[in-house]
Amino acid sequence: MSDISLAALAAQVFTGLVLGGIYVLLAVGLSLIFGLMTVVNFSHGALYMLGAYFGFVLVGRTGSFLVALVLAPLLVGVFGLLVERFLIRPLYGRSPDDPLLLTFGLSLVLVEAVRMIWGKFGMTFDPPKVLGGAVNLGFTMFPLYRLFVIGVTAAVLIALWLFLVKTPIGLVIRAGSRDPLMVRALGFDLGRIWLLVFGIGSALAGLAGVLAGPMRGVYAEMGVTMVIESFVVVVVGGMGSLPGAIVAGLLIGQVVSLTTFFVPKMAEIMVFIFMAAVLLIRPSGLFGEAGLME
């Protein structure tokens, strides 16, 4: 291979890192929710979309991207709390299909509601001026904003990690996902923990949405394919496994990016081929524990 294509390949890996970052943010939330609550949250894509819309509105109102970046995920998180408290909670103890159908229905309602409020057209908002340009990485010109996305994703993941590993609540969350019955027996109110986890997962989806908005535009259907791809990431990583979601998200980002480089027509399907291959070798995913779904 010539030098040019090596440089292009390096650029390709960088591009894949950003794609992977967005997948990771979505998949970590999904996986967290599934691991603890065994709820397959089909409204995750709609929450991602809501994050982008809230970001759009907040940037318009306040003129500050930073405010939007902080506030929009919080708003989506609060919305997630309400969804858990009033919609999902009554379904605990019933078949896992029930919350799945409920969240699927919720995603349809949200998409339609957004169309009613903000119209059927897409919208755009720009990254802050300081992050607007492209930087020369030596091997390619790369958008500064995309580097920023990598940075924010990494920072948020480290913060989440510290929260789960170093704080007492994090300890209970991790224990709850291992053995909810025992955690209950020790006197913890798992209802509150579930509420919190659903809120955190939603906020992460919202964050992914705000971050994606300036790159991809904002439109009501933006979460529809993302939620499917994020589920692929969760399944590849192992349902309920956080390290799995992170590793799988980054891997899928590279799969998409490199397939696009070599055989663009295969990029979409390759994600699923990759999933099939992983599941053939490790039926519970890369980091998954057998038996969680039973």
Partner: protein, 405 residues
């Protein structure tokens, strides 16, 4: 004839002559025109423009007494950009709602599904989608008409202009479905014919929002012109990402088409110096009275200038009306014959005509360029006219090439 019959017939006759045409139109069953379009999804902005064009045409027709003295209704349905939904909506429009005509369709693959239904039901269809197949064998039919430009015409015209004015080394990015593939093919041919090189062609799935993975390779190849066939909302995401990678400083960007509703969403910064072809642009009203009349009445009704797909809908519906009046019936074959027998028309921008061998409309088109931010004319004046290309049947494939000799 007894006295009673005499009285009722004369009274009815008197009423017929005395009442204004508008009232008479309302006294009979209306003529219904079914209109499938992708009202939701990445083409929603363009479909909204089509909806308005259709509504304006129907308003104007009814103000003049409708078609054949009957009121006209247009029934607009969301095809969701899916061929099976388009087919289903069309079938419902014809069978359940009793539409005599179908006009519309925006995405080429959905429009083909609509056409299958209209052919089966023997209903006249005027397509407003950009498609090569619709006016060629095996898809076309004697009752299938095509009002819009097609990829062959736009890509030959824009491709030639780009070769002469912007550069000869290209990279083409195209949405991987009927319209995109056809443009890619014709653009590549046009480039070759004029002695250029296509350094690469990149297909991507229609409706994508993420293009970054395609871009490093294009950057490294250093084309003179990046030709983008990225319709609807894809166009905004694509240009945003291309510009964020700084590629607009390294190469020119051209597209077979501009869509003003999409450009308005994207804003002047995004569309600055982007070249593209168009069948219509509202600023053409300067010096063109036909365009001015249309822009004025559209603006009066909707408060915004019209876009380039609304005019297809508008013109196609007026052609349904013209054909029906000429044929004095709504029978599909007779209306089609009437349109072929007097093929010339002019509804909004100057002379157009149906080529009788393939029912394809021929019309002028223009090359436009995005204005710099600060130089735009209001919210909608993002583009400036660079060149006019008069209608010419030679830009399309011949009827023999389409299998219709």
């Amino acid at each position: 004839m007894n006295r009673r019959v005499f009285l009722t017939t004369t009274a009815a006759g008197a009423a017929t002559f005395a009442f204004p045409a508008v009232l008479r139109a309302q006294s009979k069953d209306p003529i219904r025109i079914g209109f499938p379009a992708p009202l939701t999804g990445p083409f929603s902005a363009i479909a909204a423009d089509m909806k308005q064009g259709a509504e304006l045409a129907v308003d104007e027709l009814n103000a003049k007494g409708g078609i054949l003295g009957r009121k006209v209704e247009v029934l607009i349905r969301d095809d969701q950009l899916k061929p099976q939904v388009g087919a289903q909506r069309t079938q419902e429009l014809i069978e359940k709602e009793g539409c005599q005509f179908i006009v519309g369709g925006l995405a080429a693959h959905v429009q083909m599904a609509i056409n299958e239904q209209t052919k089966k039901a023997k209903v006249l269809f005027i397509s407003t989608s950009q498609s090569d197949e619709i006016s060629a064998k095996p898809d076309t039919s004697p009752i299938t008409f095509h009002e819009a430009l097609n990829p062959t015409i736009t890509s030959r015209v824009v491709g030639k202009w780009v070769m002469e004015n912007l550069g000869k080394k290209w990279w083409i990015v195209y949405a991987d479905y009927a319209w995109g593939k056809q443009n890619n093919m014709v653009l590549s041919e046009t480039n070759k014919k004029h002695g250029g090189t296509v350094l690469g062609n990149t297909p991507y799935p229609l409706g994508s929002a993420e293009f970054s993975a395609h871009l490093p390779k294009i950057q490294a190849a250093k084309p003179e012109v990046l030709v983008s066939c990225t319709p609807g909302a894809d166009n905004i995401a694509f240009l945003k990402q291309v510009k964020s990678f700084g590629m607009h400083q390294q190469m020119k960007i051209a597209q077979p088409l501009h869509w003003i509703s999409v450009a308005k969403q994207g804003g002047p910064e995004l569309y600055q110096d982007i070249y593209g072809g168009m069948n219509f642009y509202w600023e053409l009203q300067d010096g063109n009275p036909d365009v001015k009349r249309y822009v004025d009445s559209f603006q009066k009704k909707f408060g915004t200038p019209p876009g380039e797909y609304g005019v297809y809908a508008y013109s196609a519906i007026l052609e349904v009306a013209r054909g029906s009046e000429l044929a004095k019936t709504t029978d599909a074959e007779k209306v089609a014959d009437a349109l072929r027998k007097s093929p010339a028309y002019n509804h909004f921008k100057g002379k157009q005509w149906w080529r009788t061998c393939d029912n394809k409309s021929f019309q002028d088109m223009w090359i436009l360029k995005g204005r710099a931010p600060g130089k735009t004319k209001g919210d909608w004046g993002l583009l400036e006219v660079v060149s006019r290309v008069p209608a010419n049947e030679e830009f399309d494939r011949t009827c023999a090439e389409k299998g219709l000799a």
